[in-house]
């Protein structure tokens, strides 16, 4: 197992638990989507995986090793992270943004550069015209792709995506999403994606988890989730016009 959460709970001291008794595992190359309303603890779960937070109970294993035993900096350099606000470094060019983790990892400059160009080309941003631009000169969709390229640059074993397409208009959103699906099939990266859009989850993921009030209600294949009899899962699925996969 690449990622394994074993009876994980998390709470800030003096506050009610954010996550309760979560069990979840993920194999190399799998895509898992976590769906749920805003504020149910999805982002917290991602931060438990990259070691920004440590569980108050239970264990989180990454590559077979507990996150509390990992050096946090090392761990995060092996894990790509994409989030809604993207957070591109506005003072760096697109190329500098994409190659940041390789550079932190002391790759040879030529190699870091080549990798950045390769990823930009792969994500449909021709490096010849995009490498030297700065984030403020990009559209929302372009920024999101640069953010994705940046997260993938140092060949991470896991990619965490927190509402990665949330800020995009519907058209761009489906475009970037397809781009992502195509790239993923090429790179076979393991992905945990957090979204409140269950259709998106069904479209992208091999496994879907539904999170509600800190609990993982179900964690299964899209088909099984879609046909779940659990009224709480049903309530969530039926609230959204479903576009079921075949």
């Amino acid at each position: 197992m690449l990622v394994q959460l074993d009876r994980v709970s998390f709470q800030y001291s003096g506050h009610p638990p954010v996550l309760r008794d979560i069990n979840l595992s993920l194999q190399t190359g799998e895509i898992c989507a976590l769906v749920g309303r805003s504020g149910v603890g999805k982002t917290t779960l991602l931060k438990l995986v990259n070691g920004l937070l440590l569980p108050t109970a239970g264990t989180v294993l990454v590559e077979g090793r507990e996150t509390r035993l990992w050096d946090g900096i090392r761990l995060r350099r092996r894990i790509g992270y994409v989030f809604q606000d993207v957070g591109l470094f506005p003072h760096m060019t697109v190329e500098e943004n994409v190659s940041i983790v390789p550079r932190l990892e002391k790759w040879a400059p030529a190699r870091a550069r080549a990798r950045a160009h390769e990823l930009l080309d792969l994500l449909g941003l021709p490096s010849a015209s995009f490498a030297g631009r700065r984030p403020p000169a990009l559209s929302g969709g372009q920024r999101q792709r640069v953010g994705l390229a940046r997260a993938l640059a140092a060949d991470p074993s896991i990619l965490l995506m927190d509402e990665p397409f949330g800020a995009l208009d519907p058209l761009t959103r489906s475009e970037v999403r397809q781009e992502f699906a195509r790239v993923q099939t090429q790179l076979h990266t393991t992905v945990i994606i957090v979204t409140h859009d269950i259709a998106e989850a069904f479209a992208l993921a091999g496994r879907v988890g539904v999170v509600d009030r800190g609990e993982l209600l179900i964690y299964d294949t899209p088909r099984n989730v879609a046909s779940s009899g659990d009224p709480r899962v049903r309530a969530f699925i039926d609230a959204v016009p479903p576009r079921l996969p075949h």
Partner: protein, 513 residues
């Protein structure tokens, strides 16, 4: 344009003062950057520490610059007459804007960007250097810009404690009541402020547009540092190494002339180089300079020495006053040499027109006008026991209005212009005649003798016998009339101090010892 004329005739001096000014501003700003940015970073990261740092920096900023210089003068290691004290004060002033903009710059970095950096596995240090500082840089540069521009202005005040710079012209001009000289310092200072502002604004704009990076800014700073170092080296080379005698003076015309006269007389003896620290901001600063060894010699007045420096009553007899001063100085390792020959006592002055109309002859006669007249005095005179307090006690004067306190140099024009009605000036002032003023007789012999005496560090006198020979050449050779003439040559005829001093010295024979 008389100012242009002035610059042309004072080219060399102007360049030196400009150099000193630039070096003072640059070095102080650089040091403030070195302290301010780390302090700002620490303050941005720890809010409680940050508040303390900002409060301290703000408090330092509120101390008036002259007062701050005054506080620093007696502090060991950093105090003293000269550029060192000025640098410390300038650094203190430059800190606040730099700290504040560093804090603002770092706190205003988009949290999403920080989050991305952390999630990318940046260490705190990498986050600071790769993300926070580069993004805060335009803000920090804006702070440095404010600090440097303030620095150019504050540095003019540093001339009061002998730090040099363009302020020398401003103070010299003030003491001579000469607008041209004031402008000769004020215009280049303003131009310097504008160009510093413009250059840094340019840098700020380039950074905001992303044309210059942190590394680029660092390179620019390094290049500027190199240029200023060369500047400073040149300035130091000009003052040179080797044996140096430092001559000081207070900040009014007579003192500057006497300082220059002393300097030229010592130079004429050969063997040592003379450094002039003229126009220092008062008795206290000159005395402090002598005792700390920053000055070797300056001219004091017997009455001032005994009362203002040593806080004793001054004997009314000229000879006794001198001997008392000599004994007191001897105890602190200083030597009072023979009087130069003139007595620059305080002169209570009124407009000649008033004196005639009201029949004023002695200070006693002022009681007739004490209900309506406005007195005006210098700060030192108001404060000193042998000044205003004793004067009104001795003559039983009760002025209805508080005396106006003003710069010594502004007092004469204020009297002539009618803003005040009676002042205390120098008996040797050339302005008495030219502004049509009349000296009231000190019928109760309130003012003690103020014979001019050179005061030298005894150690310097032993090390450099040239000083002794030069002082012997001047002893007893300057009468009150001579002094008034010298003052008139500078104050009224606008002749350069150097030339006036040179002409006078040429009339005095060298002394063989």
């Amino acid at each position: 344009m008389p100012v242009v004329q002035f610059w042309l005739t004072h080219r060399g001096e102007l360049m030196t003062l400009l150099q000193q000014h630039v070096v003072l501003v640059f070095v102080s700003t650089l040091v403030a950057v070195g302290i301010g940015i780390p302090a700002g970073v620490a303050a941005a990261r720890r809010p409680r520490l940050g508040r303390a740092i900002l409060v301290a920096a703000s408090a330092a900023q509120t101390v008036p610059s002259l007062a701050l210089l005054g506080f620093l003068l007696p502090v060991p290691f950093i105090g003293g007459v000269g550029p060192r004290t000025a640098l410390v004060a300038l650094v203190i002033y430059a800190l606040l804007p730099i700290v504040r903009t560093t804090v603002t710059g770092i706190r205003n970095v988009d949290p999403a960007v920080i989050e991305a950096g952390v999630a990318m596995g940046m260490t705190r240090r990498q986050l600071l250097w790769l993300v926070q500082l580069p993004l805060a840089l335009p803000s920090i540069i804006a702070g440095i810009r404010v600090a440097a521009v303030i620095g150019v202005g504050t540095t003019t005040i540093a001339a009061a404690i002998g730090a040099g710079g363009l302020g020398e012209y401003i103070f010299r001009g003030l003491s001579m009541v000469d607008t041209t000289t004031i402008l000769a310092g004020a215009i280049p200072a303003a131009a310097l402020a504008l160009s510093v502002d413009g250059l840094l604004a340019l840098l700020e704009r380039r950074i905001r547009r992303g044309r210059t990076t942190l590394a680029g800014a660092a390179r620019a700073a390094a290049a500027a540092a190199l240029i200023v170092m060369i500047f400073a080296m040149a300035a130091i080379a000009r003052t040179g190494g080797g044996a140096v005698v430092v001559v000081g003076s207070k900040n009014f015309t007579e003192q500057v002339i006497l300082g220059e006269l002393l300097a030229q007389a010592i130079e004429a003896e050969g063997g040592v180089r003379v450094l002039r620290k003229l126009n220092l901001g008062g008795t206290f600063i000159c005395d402090r300079g002598l005792r700390t060894g920053e000055l070797d010699v300056y001219v004091e007045y017997t009455g001032t020495a005994v009362s203002a420096v040593f806080h004793e009553d001054v004997p009314r007899d000229s000879r006794q006053a001198f001997e008392r001063a000599r004994d007191l100085y001897a105890r602190v390792g200083l030597t009072a040499r023979d009087p130069l020959g003139f007595n620059n006592t305080f002169a209570v002055l009124v407009r000649t027109g008033d004196a005639r109309a009201l029949g004023l002859r002695t200070i006693d006669d002022l009681r007739a006008v004490e209900r309506t007249w406005i007195p005006g005095f210098g700060y030192e005179f108001l404060q000193r026991e042998d000044g205003y307090p004793g004067l009104v006690r001795t003559y039983e004067l009760r002025f209805a209005v508080q005396p106006r306190a003003m710069e010594l140099s502004l007092i004469y024009p204020a009297l002539a212009g009618g803003q005040v009605d009676v002042i205390a000036g120098d008996a040797t002032s050339a302005l008495i005649e030219s502004l049509e003023l009349t000296q009231l007789e000190d019928s109760r012999q309130y003012f003690p003798p103020y014979d001019a005496i050179p005061v030298v560090r005894t150690a310097s006198l032993l090390r450099h016998p040239e000083i002794g020979r030069a002082l012997a050449r001047l002893a007893g050779r300057i009468s009150t009339d001579d002094m008034r003439e010298l003052n008139a040559a500078v104050d009224l005829d606008r002749r350069p101090v150097q030339l006036v001093a040179r002409g006078y010295l040429a009339r005095l024979p060298r002394v063989e010892q």
